[in-house]
């Protein structure tokens, strides 16, 4: 069973992504911000999610900051960053982090599901 952890501060977007991913056969966990993501993932365990889908901007802790903490703790789970930015090269795209790709809003689910399939196939 492939598990995807999604973090977004919008309940509606979480519901949308969860529905689409579940329809595509994934198990979905959700978090409302980066803080919850870092609390949820135990760096010493190999039992975590197979893919992270993190919103770039969230209150309390952004997806980027959460990922930075996880990477520092040795978590190598592939991660996609969801951004309202039209251009992934734009603004806050960090170059020091292992990021598998960027997803722009509005989300093109055909492309997103393709990328999720590719990344989780690599992981397993």
């Amino acid at each position: 069973m492939t598990t995807v952890l999604i973090a977004d501060d919008s309940e509606t977007i979480l519901l949308l992504m969860r529905t689409r991913l579940e329809l595509a056969g994934y198990t979905v966990e959700t978090a409302v911000d980066g803080q919850e993501v870092t609390e949820r993932i135990d760096p010493s365990s190999t039992d975590g999610p197979d893919l992270l889908l993190l919103d770039a901007m969230m209150p309390r802790k952004s997806g980027i900051d959460a990922l930075r903490e996880l990477r520092a703790a040795g978590v190598e789970t592939p991660a996609l960053i969801v951004s309202a930015h039209q251009d992934p090269g734009d603004a806050n795209a960090p170059t020091d982090l292992e990021i598998s790709g960027y997803v722009t809003k509005p989300i093109d689910f055909d492309l997103l599901l393709g990328a999720v399939a590719e990344l989780t196939a690599q992981a397993s």
Binding site: I13, P88, G101, Y102, K105, P106, I107, G114
Partner: protein
């Protein structure tokens, strides 16, 4: 000073003259008295001596006064010349005093006109030039204040558009996403429901296009529209655009063809941005041309680079509109009357993007014959090799 000498000289001359005249008069009176004495038989030798003495005295007076007159004339002449020279010197000095502040004013006005609103002049010289200088400085200060307020407003506008277009993306994602979810169950929807959802999706795409365009313009205004150009082969890019647009042109039974000159040199561009420009130009040709029109995209070597032309045999653009065609929110008549999905921003953005590449965009159109939009792009230096895409965007929203 010499002028003062002349004045003193003239004054001295007048006083001397008065002295002389009263002395002469006294001398005549003394002589007349002596002659009267002789005529009355009273005067003797003494009276005759008086006459002789007075005659000699007057001659002496006349000599001395003519010397004085000559001296005075010389003095007055010299004084006048000196005065003229002085006046000339004074005038030259005056001009010199005025000249520097005036030259400064001319310089400063030039700098101000060129946009340097911090320009001020040194206030000095005559009171008139000082007043002028003060007035100039006040005007420049006001302009500077206005400009800084305008810049502030501009920045606020740019920030607003950037923020708004980001903030609108999340709700738009939901609307579009859930409408797509509904469409996944289209088999259980009625025909009318399917049409309704299609309208929602259509408008979502329009909104996305509008947001992307606004964002590009705001970025362009803020100087934040950036490109990452790399040596690129144009042929496949043009073919790709034509292929992606064919569904739409086929729907209007329009013919869409491409003609790519063989062995085109590589161009230095950001492929995604060139694709955006070409999609925009072909979309315009498609939307503004009637059914069964033909649209052709050609790529060829031109004088200064590689030129891509997008031509149609549609209605053409009237000269009055042609002039403003690359300005924002300017749309052709058809765009206002028919169902054309544009935002009125496409050409303004295309122009910004082409210019950012160091290229040029132009249009040639004739009413009733059609329009040709030409994009000229810079060629890569010899020996350049095509670089693969470095972008890690895996899910880009439709532009």
């Amino acid at each position: 000073m010499l002028t003062a000498a002349a004045v003193i000289g003239v004054g001295h001359f007048i006083a001397e003259r008065q002295n002389y005249e009263s002395s002469i008069e006294r001398s005549f009176q003394t002589e007349m008295q002596a002659r009267v004495e002789i005529a009355e038989g009273a005067g003797g030798k003494a009276a005759r001596q008086t006459i002789t003495r007075e005659e000699a005295h007057r001659a002496e007076l006349r000599n001395s006064i003519s010397d004085d007159t000559r001296d005075t004339a010389i003095l007055v002449g010299a004084g006048l010349i000196a005065g003229l020279i002085g006046a000339l010197l004074l005038f030259t000095g005056l001009i010199a005093t005025m000249r520097r502040p005036l030259e400064q004013l001319v310089d400063a006005a030039g700098r101000l006109a060129a946009g340097d609103r911090s320009t001020r002049v040194e206030v000095g010289g005559l009171s008139e030039t000082a007043t002028l200088g003060n007035a100039f400085n006040e005007m420049a200060a006001e302009l500077e204040l206005e400009a800084s307020e305008r810049d502030k407003l501009d920045r606020m506008k740019d920030e607003f558009v950037l923020t708004a277009s980001h903030e609108l993306r999340s709700p738009l994602t939901s609307v579009q996403g859930f409408a797509e979810l509904l469409m996944m169950e289209r088999d259980s929807l009625t025909q009318r429901q399917v049409e309704t959802v299609e309208i929602i999706l259509d408008n979502c795409r329009h909104l996305v296009r509008l947001l992307n365009d606004l964002l590009d313009l705001a970025r362009s205004d803020a100087g934040r529209l950036t490109i990452r150009p790399r040596p690129t082969e144009l042929g496949p890019l043009v073919e790709d655009v034509v292929r992606s647009m064919r569904a739409q042109t086929d729907g209007s039974e329009q013919s869409l063809t491409e003609r790519i000159e063989p062995n085109l040199p590589l161009v230095v561009v950001e492929p995604d941005r060139i694709r955006q420009i070409l999609v925009n130009l072909v979309t315009n040709a498609h939307e503004y041309s009637p059914e069964r029109a033909s649209i052709q995209v050609t790529a060829r070597v031109a004088d200064a680079g590689v030129e891509i032309d997008v031509s149609d045999n549609g209605p053409g653009i009237p000269p009055a509109q042609l002039e403003h065609i690359f300005e924002r929110f300017v749309r052709g008549d058809a765009g206002l009357t028919q169902r054309v999905g544009g935002t009125g921003l496409g050409l303004a953005i295309s122009k910004s993007l082409v210019e950012l590449h160091g290229g040029a965009i132009s249009v040639d159109s004739e009413v009733g014959r059609g329009s040709t939009f030409s994009v000229l792009l810079p060629v890569a230096p010899p020996g350049a090799v095509e670089e693969p895409a470095g972008s890690r965007a895996i899910a880009e929203g439709p532009r």
